[in-house]
Amino acid sequence: MIKPQLDIPLLTKQFNETLILAILVDGKKHGYQLALEIEEKSGGLFRFNHGTLYPILHRLEKEKLIRGAWKQEGPKRQRKYYTLTSAGKKYLAVHVAQWREFFTQFFNIAGVIEG
């Protein structure tokens, strides 16, 4: 069993990171695509202000969990695409397990109240 290491003040940060990394499992995407897919797949529940997306993306890139690469699209347009690195995949696996554990514990309590 994975020992829970979730720090409450870091929940939002880790939540956003996990969402971004999970979306990148399907392949390379640019920032706008990422935000749009997260929004669509969550039925509009997780709606990113794109402004908050860039600090997270750039931090993940600095930590080598994702890799950014520029691609020329048309004569005047350059796009930055992000891909998941092997370190990112490992990080994602650990965090998904932690979130699962977190929600299991949450529903252990919330489920009792509900029942």
């Binding site: 920032g31 706008y32 749009l36 202000n49 908050t52 860039y54 750039h58 600095k62 347009r77």
Partner: protein, 259 residues
Amino acid sequence: MNRFSSLLNSIHDRLHVPQPIKSRILLEIAADLQDAYDFYLERGHTEEQATQLAQERFLLDDAAIAELAAVHQPLVKRILDRFSLQMQSRWQRLILLLTLLTIVAVSGRVMLTSAFFVNSSPFVWPVWGISIAGLLLFLQKFYQLFLIKNHNLRTLRNGLGTLALLGLLSAVLGLCGYFYELLANGMRTVLPGGSLITVVCTVTDSAKQIIDIHNCYIRTSTVMMASLFVAMLIGLLWYVLMNKIAKIEMAEAQSILST
């Protein structure tokens, strides 16, 4: 003019990171903004509505800007960049250059005399080594920026950190040499139970001690002069390069904001 220029300009003004990184961030946001704009147009919005909706989704508040800056900028680099950007007016630059040139010329004259080297501290030689390394690095960057005009943003700032570090190293070596000389002389001069200060402050009864203290002063002076001279010279060279690079980067940023 870019339809998102007001938003991009606002990010440009508030985001304090080195210009190449800033340009890349703006380029990334500009491309995503365009996608968002196209998305809203496809949904039947007018051009004005699409522009406004896209901009609303990409608002970077001060917290996001600060986080972005923190990701890209170590504290030391932020201070150095701010210093070079603050010295932007012609008069400020001229005064700074004149002050530094005067100090370099005056101390350089003293250091070029042979007497300076006769009794200098051994710490002076690594300081000269640093000065040669700094000069070579400056010449290489000068060749890149001014002669062959290779203004590739990715390599523009390469070597600048090393140059600043060499200046700092020279000053640190000078301080180490200064205290080493004081300590070494103190060991020779101070009697058991005494202190270096009492030896310096009282008239000693030994001519040899006076000569030792005199030599100690010369050695500490030489090492401090040489190290500060080299640190200032390197600082001056760094500043010249930094200004040139800032100009190139500003031109690049303007071209991103206007396309």
